[in-house]
Amino acid sequence: MALQACAHRGTEPVPTALVPDPVAVVVKATPPAELLRCATRPAGIPEDPALIAQIPTAVRAGIIRMATAFGANAAQLDRLIDWNAPGSCASAEAAR
């Protein structure tokens, strides 16, 4: 009896693909390419022995503040971009 049932089941048509394949999607919030540009680092002040300037203390302090902030901001931007797209700015910094 059981054998008959087994034999019968073998010939029975069995439907396939009633359920779609499972998909687990990774949602990536990629920022626009414009936001992923590494920090701009133009050429700095010429380091020429012939160049000597007289700059008052207050102005010197201002220049130092701006330069320090520029360096910190550029480093932070590169780190942020590397966080989003690993390795995209580390190579640029190494090439400097």
Partner: protein
Amino acid sequence: MKTFLSPLFAKLRAEAAFLVLLAVAAVGAWLYVQFQQVRADRDDAVHRAELICASSGTDWTATPGGKTTPAYKRGVLCRAKVAGLADFKAHTDELTARTLAQALADHDARQNTDNQAARTAAEAARAAAQRMEMADAQAERKNLVDRDWFAAVNGVAGLRAPRH
């Protein structure tokens, strides 16, 4: 004893046909009750099967074959659907777990890379700031700045002098 039982046996022998009928009737009644129970049980099982199939979104009933589709006996489509759903859930769980584990690993890797980058940047900034302080102290007396001071400014800004 025998004299006492013999009239009873004689009477029984006379009513043998009726006794057989009685026995057959009893068996029939017992079978009938059994059948009623089996039928109720079967109806209940089929009803539950129909409910299960309906909740999976397929029909319990047999499907006649079309020109391109084969005919299915009752419950076959439903069983395949339920098996497919169970498979779907298992695979989805597995994929989700794998995706989450990958995301966690990625996050850890990023954290490590960023920690290193942050340390490097902080060390470079500290060294540049010390150099700047020294260069500025030298320029303090005459307000005259020279190559050292410019180089220190480039250093804190993380810039290089233009190439000639």
